[in-house]
């Protein structure tokens, strides 16, 4: 029972994160607008919401655009149902930016925001708007309850943060364990430490594959391609390659002592280089599609709000524990095998 508490603990954390990660509702948000261009003068658009309550909260509803410091309220709008609003905006030409941000506010959903919702179509004749008086009256605070942030394009897939990212944390942790065992092996020439290092690398590869596969699926339906030329993604692929090479090296030397020593040296060298590639380097450049996800300092940029944090950190801890548990099982099995081989 003694060594069991952390396994039960991490299992509970994983169950908690899967449960809440799948069942907690997504906050209301604006999904799409159609058309996405505004002519000068009046344009009528359809605003599609997600999990929103446009009809239920029609009394407290306010719809407006911002552009720079300027605010354009909807000239008129008509609620179709809970997820659709037909709105007419009237804009004029002298504005600072080409893109308008869209806001919808009501008492049930709070403030919903779609950045860069509309592009100004500058071809039209400039007209002064019919209605420019300020329309934003007191915005009522909405009590939305527990929910995940609704990001444009991501929508429900924000939940993948709880399943994709922890696998990378688990991979790094278990590779670090492997690194540590390699050092122990080289210092004290203990073959059991080398076997542990190999087993840890094996479990690390499992989580690397999980990270790559889940990342590819997520990327396909967010950025539109299975593989994008992203530094973090390439870094992950390199990490995987390094550990595959590690196993090639192990199996290419027949003499056990020598194979263990070579593998230990390569593991230490490779781990440092991998750390450099996966953790340090992607942060130095700007051309990463990952908007600060994955335990780097840009975390708050990503609007990882408190609700998400409440599930994300337990998920990371839980999966780290799970990876250690799987590693332990693998290692114990391997020890049995070695004992059986000796007899």
């Amino acid at each position: 029972m003694r060594g069991l508490w952390w396994k039960i603990g991490s299992a509970i954390l994983v169950i908690y994160s899967v449960f809440l990660g799948l069942l907690a509702p997504l906050n209301p948000g604006i999904k799409t607008v159609d058309p996405a261009q505004l002519n000068n003068g009046g344009t009528t658009v359809i605003i599609t919401g997600y999990n929103s309550h446009f009809a239920d909260a029609a009394q407290s509803q306010q719809v407006w655009l911002t552009n720079g410091d300027e605010i354009f309220c909807a000239y008129e709008y008509q609620v179709v149902d809970n997820t659709h609003i037909r709105a007419t905006f009237s804009i004029y030409q002298d504005i600072s930016e080409a893109f308008f941000d869209l806001y919808v506010h009501n008492a049930v959903d709070g403030t919903m925001h779609l950045p860069d919702a509309f592009l100004q179509n500058a071809m039209e004749v400039s007209l002064k708007p019919d209605k420019i008086e300020p329309c934003l009256t007191a915005l009522a605070e909405a009590d939305r309850g527990f929910g995940f942030p609704n990001q444009p394009i991501l929508n429900e897939t924000i939940r993948n943060l709880l399943f994709h990212v922890p696998s990378w944390f688990a991979m790094i942790l278990i590779m670090a364990v492997s690194f540590g065992y390699s050092i122990v092996h080289l210092r004290h020439s203990r073959l059991d430490a080398d076997a542990a290092a190999a087993n840890a690398a094996r479990v690390g590869l499992l989580f690397a594959f999980i990270g790559l596969a889940t990342g590819m699926i997520w990327a396909r339906f967010t950025w539109g391609a299975w593989w994008v030329n992203d530094r973090r993604l390439n870094g992950a692929a390199v990490a995987t390659l390094i550990y595959l090479a590690y196993f090639v090296l192990r199996s290419s030397v027949n003499e056990e002592q020598k194979a263990a020593r070579l593998a230990g040296v390569y593991n230490i060298f490779a781990f440092v280089m991998m750390l450099l590639f996966v953790m340090v380097w992607p942060r130095l450049g700007a051309d990463s599609l990952h908007p600060g996800v994955g335990g780097n300092p840009a975390f708050n940029q990503y609007d990882l709000d408190d609700n998400l944090r409440l599930v994300f950190y337990p998920a990371v801890l839980g999966w780290m524990g799970m990876s250690l548990w799987i590693f332990q099982l693998q290692n114990r099995m391997d020890r049995l095998r070695r004992i059986a081989d000796e007899h």
């Binding site: 090479a245 230990g264 040296v265 390569y266 380097w281």
Partner: protein, 221 residues
């Protein structure tokens, strides 16, 4: 320790001179791959292509050169060295030796590459900056590949294992290097490139340190 390093380095250099076909073969390797590239492209006026092709050729030549540095030693001579010198001086001597060989190779490669494939892309580049990048690249590649070469040689394996082991390790360095050299070819200012240069130097120093620490464990036989 440094006299020991110097002695091993001198010994390697002498061996190299005695069997001059060895260095010649690597230079010939560069010459022929550049010639193939010339036949395929005739003239490259496009900076990214020029840059990528140049570094790919250099990369494989570097693998070839580094693979020889340990494979040349017969196991008898290795045993002899083992009794005479400390492993730290052996790896330092090998790194210096590899760096010298690679510097010669890269300079030669740059010369014939720009000669055959056209110097159109070099117009914007600062000559000193380009030479600096090429030197830095050669230095870093040789440092990282020295340890990998020692690994492959200890495993009694050929170039194949070395490519498998070395490529993923060298990739971070190589990608930063290619980005830097592209920037230099485009004539970007030092302020843009400084961070890349520091990264390259950091990786090189780190690799030297790791080789210094790890090599004794390989040498122990």
């Amino acid at each position: 320790m440094w006299p020991e390093v110097w002695a091993i380095f001198r010994k390697d250099m002498k061996l190299e001179m005695r069997q001059s076909h060895a260095l010649g073969s690597v230079l010939l390797y560069i010459l022929s791959s550049v010639f193939v590239a010339y036949l395929a492209f005739k003239r490259i006026g496009d900076v990214p292509t020029w840059n990528a092709l140049f570094w790919i050729i250099v990369l494989f030549a570097a693998f070839n050169a580094a693979a020889r540095s340990f494979a040349l030693e017969s196991s008898g001579r290795r045993l002899y060295l083992y009794t005479l010198a400390s492993p730290q001086s052996v790896i330092l001597a090998k790194i210096i030796y590899n760096a010298c060989i690679l510097l010669v190779m890269v300079s030669f490669g740059l010369l014939i590459f720009s000669g055959l494939l056209g110097t159109d892309v070099l117009r914007e580049a600062n000559g000193f900056a380009l030479m600096g990048v090429v030197m830095l690249g050669a230095l870093g590649l040789s440092v990282q590949l020295s340890l990998v070469s020692a690994l492959a040689a200890t495993a009694d394996q050929n170039l194949g294992l070395m490519a498998v082991l070395g490529l993923p390790i060298i990739l971070p360095f190589l990608l930063i290097l290619m980005r830097l050299s592209k920037n230099v070819l485009d004539g970007l200012a030092w302020s843009v490139n400084a961070s890349y240069v520091w990264q390259l130097i950091a990786i090189t120093v780190l690799s030297v340190a790791l080789s210094y620490i790890l090599f004794p464990y390989l040498w122990r036989e």
